[in-house]
């Protein structure tokens, strides 16, 4: 194995041993994945998004396979933040996992409530505010589709959260300008940006002649969306370089399957990379991708991950 410094910044005070994370909703709360990959070997594990209360999620069918991708409409099934803190987090901490807890709510206050509950919890290295869900108070418009909703929510989470826990905002690509949303989030105090969440898509079942998913539409993920994800990371990083978005680390995701894919995101500006759909195909991907990324960096004469971040913007 090469001798690359793989440490990755999560926030200004938190540095991770490596940049590889899981994407929210694609590794549950870690127990099942731990059978394939020791959680402590990951930079972080991002939990499935947790709301303050129990949620059943949507009825089935919840998924459809699409060309080089899939649609899901899980609908944030979960047992709520208290249950997580009491029953899942201690186990995660015991495994030595560094946990990025994904939280959400249907109102700004619900986000704040979930964030507050995580204060001082061992194992929690940060919070990811999944603002790519509908804001009940604003006509059901997704928080991250509206700069001021995004601002308010991130602000509320940052205020409520443990100051030692960096707060990431998770952005949806389904907007006219993701740079505007990124700017709002960083202004609101986000310590990092997670990009991207799924694209809104749907499949019509040619047999039943109806939408395939019980939820009609679902989120498109997987390699199919990688070019969109890389573009989003690149655009936002470019805006950071240009000074129109405050510079914070970017956790890149969307269709990563290999170290080469991960490198694309790093070169575009990501400080960390998260693996989602690939885990369904290959649950041991995190270890493989980390090794491949390390070799890819070495082959290209980088001596640290840090050097490669955003390199596509600067040239040789």
């Amino acid at each position: 194995m090469s001798n690359i410094d793989m440490s990755a910044p999560l926030g200004s005070h938190v540095t991770l041993p490596n940049p590889v994370s899981t994407a929210s909703g694609c590794a549950g709360y870690g127990r099942e994945l731990h059978r394939f990959v020791p959680l402590s070997s990951l930079g972080t594990i991002t939990t499935k998004t947790i709301m303050p209360y129990v949620r059943s999620g949507r009825p089935t069918p919840r998924m459809a396979e699409t060309p080089s991708g899939m649609l899901n409409s899980i609908g944030l099934q979960g047992s709520g933040i208290d249950h997580f803190v009491e029953h899942e987090l201690p186990w995660l901490a015991e495994q030595g996992a560094r946990v990025l807890v994904s939280i959400a709510g249907e109102r700004t206050e619900e986000f704040a409530e979930a964030a507050a509950r995580l204060k001082g919890q061992p194992g929690v290295v940060g919070i990811e505010a999944n603002i790519s869900c509908p804001n009940v108070a604003n006509r059901g418009l997704v928080f991250a589709c509206d700069a001021s909703s995004a601002y308010e929510t991130v602000r509320a989470v940052r205020d409520a959260a443990d100051p030692a826990q960096p707060v990431y905002a998770k952005l949806t690509p389904d907007v006219t300008s993701i740079v505007d949303i990124a700017a709002a989030c960083t202004q609101a105090g986000a310590d990092g940006l997670s990009m991207i969440n799924t694209l809104l898509g749907m499949v019509v079942d040619a047999d039943t002649l109806r939408p395939r998913l019980a939820g009609t539409t679902g989120g498109l993920s997987g390699p199919a969306i990688r070019p969109v994800a890389v573009r989003c990371v690149y655009q936002v990083y470019a805006a950071m370089r240009a000074g129109s978005v405050r510079k914070v680390p970017i956790l890149g995701m969307g269709g990563i399957t290999s170290g080469r894919d991960a490198l694309e995101f790093v070169l575009a500006g990501a400080s960390g990379v998260a693996l989602g759909t690939v885990l369904f195909n290959d649950p041991s991907a995190p270890v493989r991708v980390l090794e491949e990324l390390e070799s890819a960096l070495a082959e290209r004469d980088f001596t640290s991950l840090q050097q490669a971040i955003g390199f596509a913007h600067t040239g040789n």
Binding site: V54, S56, G78
Partner: protein, 305 residues
Amino acid sequence: MDREIQRSESPLSRQSRPTPTQSSAEILALEPVGAYHRLVLDTGSDVAARVSPGHFAALAIGGRDSSMLLRRAFSIHRADPGAGSIELVFAVHGRGTKALAAHHVGDSVDLIAPLGTPFPLSGGPVAAVLVAGGYGSAPMFGLAEQILDRGGRVGFVLGAASADKLFGVGLARALTPHVAVTTDDGSYGSKGRVTDPLPGMIRELGATEVHSCGPMPMLRAVTEIATAYGARSHTAVEEAMACGIGICMTCVLPVVGEDGVTRFERSCTAGPVFDGTKVRWEDAGTLPAGLEGADAMNPHRVPAR
């Protein structure tokens, strides 16, 4: 969700859930059997030794250049710990199974096994009826052997749409004289459904357990009959799965917990074998009344707190 994790230790699933192994498995045999294909895989590990009847395997098909990302689940028909191999029986259904059928001996597929919660096995001798539709019989012969090994008795009710879609009638007859066969079109056995001979078979054997595997409506009907005749009903469900290992949450069914509360349980971890009386069959694909957390799906509800 540790609820599902706990479930695997619940009385319903008395067998422990072994750790699944991921490996690149070489195809040792691939050939047609009736309307199906028989696939033997070299697991290259002790996977076969850890298989119990009702466990399934999840295969990734097509490699890196394939446009198909998700795993395909198949019951493990037979496990040969000596050879380190497992055997599956599959029907060509969509793209993935079509591509799988086009593989050659010597090719490799990415395999994860054993997965899921298998059929519960009592320690002592019991009388059980095993009911299966189509390739649903695949896991049943191993189960029958284990029941027989424990001194029990078994009967089979095997059904399918037509004769070519029956699997394992001969295997069943080799294990027990109590074998009933039905086809929808009457092309083999008696014309009708598995539920027709089932009551007679339960009585004949004095069965206290019914194990079934097949389409949901069948499992539901079998459970109703088993319950009416005082037998427990263990059903192996087939719900669409993306990962097979418990991380995607696509495969849920509404299942009543021991506390009487209905929750969406993953059929790949809490199942595929469920107590048939706990599954709310008629409510699959809905948000049924009493489902825990279903109120939170209504955006116009009063905030939780």
